[in-house]
Symmetry: C2
């Protein structure tokens, strides 16, 4: 556990909040257009300049079917060249894991689902098989502790296919993932079913049982509770949160609905709640024109981009 933990803490120090920007991965899964590679590099570099340190830059998938992720290796190298920045990529099968190991990617994400139905329809694997993929990834690292292995449990708060999800079932899967070698556990509200009470209760259940592994909360704002859920996760002790710039990333099960929780609003929530993010919100909002330009026709979300932070009070957290 010592080496596993050291690597997890390198990316996610225990004593501070880490915000993962997933726009270039989860944000582009459903968009009709996608940014050019130079625009993606500009996106990463400007976000890094604003203080963002965690970037999920794509998924290792067949280029013909998923052209939006064709430049994933370039983006991993881009992040690798930036001071203190970490890259992450989705790896849904053995091929993807093999491909990822040829890059300097800092973290790979293996997805599974809280329900068998969603797991089969989302990644065409059983949950058992997805957990096997985690063990496979550990083996493929051949003794190295890099990249970090992240197990992300989709539909942890209820499933659009399988319905209710018992918190105990998510706990069982989280423990199985940790046992199989996952070094970070993600709890995802993939379809935006969660309310803050559910988030707090599930996080309080899982955190002590996978301790000292970091837990990530991944939220969609489909039903307006995204920021409330993020606050509930912070209250429960979660210190790693996912989001996308402009709230990119719609839900295929809720047409017209908002996507991931807006990264800009997450920054504001954390700062306003006493959790320093290291991110300059004003600088971050300067990225908006890149999104507008590169994703024409996409609805962008996020209240901070509309209203800006409060002008007459101190809203930033004191520590850094």
């Amino acid at each position: 556990m010592t080496s596993r933990l050291a690597n997890a803490r390198r990316l996610y120090p225990e004593d501070r909040v880490a915000l993962r920007e997933l726009g270039l991965r989860d944000g582009l899964q459903l968009t009709k257009t996608f940014p050019s590679t130079p625009a993606k590099i500009e996106w990463i570099e400007k976000a890094h300049g604003a203080g963002v340190r965690h970037f999920e830059v794509g998924s290792f998938l067949p280029v013909r079917t998923f052209p939006q992720f064709a430049d994933i290796r370039t983006l991993i190298r881009t992040v690798d060249g930036l001071d203190g920045a970490f890259s992450s990529a989705l790896t849904l099968n053995e091929h993807a894991i093999a491909d990822s190991l040829e890059t300097p990617v800092d973290e790979i994400v293996v997805a599974l689902s809280a329900t068998e139905e969603h797991c089969m329809s989302n990644i065409r694997r059983s949950r058992r098989s997805a957990i096997g993929l985690l063990s496979h990834a550990v083996g493929e690292r051949k003794g190295s502790d890099r990249p970090l292995i992240n197990a992300s449990i989709s539909v942890s708060f209820g499933c659009s296919v399988g319905g209710e999800v018992a918190p105990e079932e998510v706990l069982r899967l989280a423990e199985a993932c940790a046992e199989a070698g996952a070094e970070v556990i993600g709890i995802a509200d993939t379809v935006g079913f969660a309310g803050p009470r559910q988030v707090r209760e599930l996080c309080e259940l899982v955190l002590p049982r996978v301790h000292p592994l970091p837990v990530i909360i991944h939220l969609h704002d489909t039903r307006g509770t995204g920021i409330a859920n993020a606050y509930a996760a912070l209250q429960a002790g979660v210190r790693v949160l996912d989001g996308t710039l402009g709230g990119l990333g719609g839900c295929p099960f809720a047409p017209g609905a908002t996507g991931n929780v807006a990264f800009e609003d997450l920054v504001y929530l954390c700062e306003r709640s006493g959790f320093a993010t290291g991110i300059d919100l004003e600088k971050l909002l300067e990225l908006r024109p890149i999104l507008d330009r590169e994703l024409p026709g996409e609805t962008l979300y996020g209240a901070l981009a509309r209203a800006g932070p409060p002008a007459t009070i101190r809203w930033q957290s004191g520590s850094t």
Copy 2:
């Protein structure tokens, strides 16, 4: 206190959540167009049919300057005729109070601000004078305990004019309002500066000190924290929450920003968090076409209106 409390508890029972729909008052303060009187009546009746029981229907103001509130007496009578429904109206001066007492309105709202600067610019009165207006209203009731007197403290979480607001200052004002005769205390984030931590801390400070008077939280979603703030208020013990259908009611200090927290999303938050509202969310969403039709050009907000409630899980609170 006994009679005062009985009246307050008639409108706001201690053992359940009450949601106040302010669309016809706060929602129409800045709109360029406003619904016809028949459309407003349809709005109230349909919302009542969905289970809404608390309606703020306007402000007693000069008709020439504020034509959107010209039909306030008609709307008070409309609410008066509906089973279990309560009407509320803003009364910002002695004239307004006198006018309100000639109607069957259930509750009148006297506004003041946490800062002297905002109070003078918003209602052209000092805070001391606004508190005097509360005593005046009590006197004018001539021994009756109706209408209920509600003191609403604007910019309680920071002021667009005066800057920082100390929680102790809001507490001082809340206690002064209770002493002057207010039977309900409103804490308002008029300019949308609050985060959930501030809401929880301020509510936990004020609630025990004005107990057993009910406390209302009035939130704007200007910076995306509206629902998180509502959740924090519920956690702190607040059981009366304001909102507007479609999140109507922009902020003059933040052009293009969202307005009040969306009533539909408040209902979902409460139900998903174990607080029964008595409101049928599906029926409530059927009001949306009235808003679309009657307020052309107004941007409507709210995630539930876009995505609908979760289809495959039980999200309603069990009790009623």
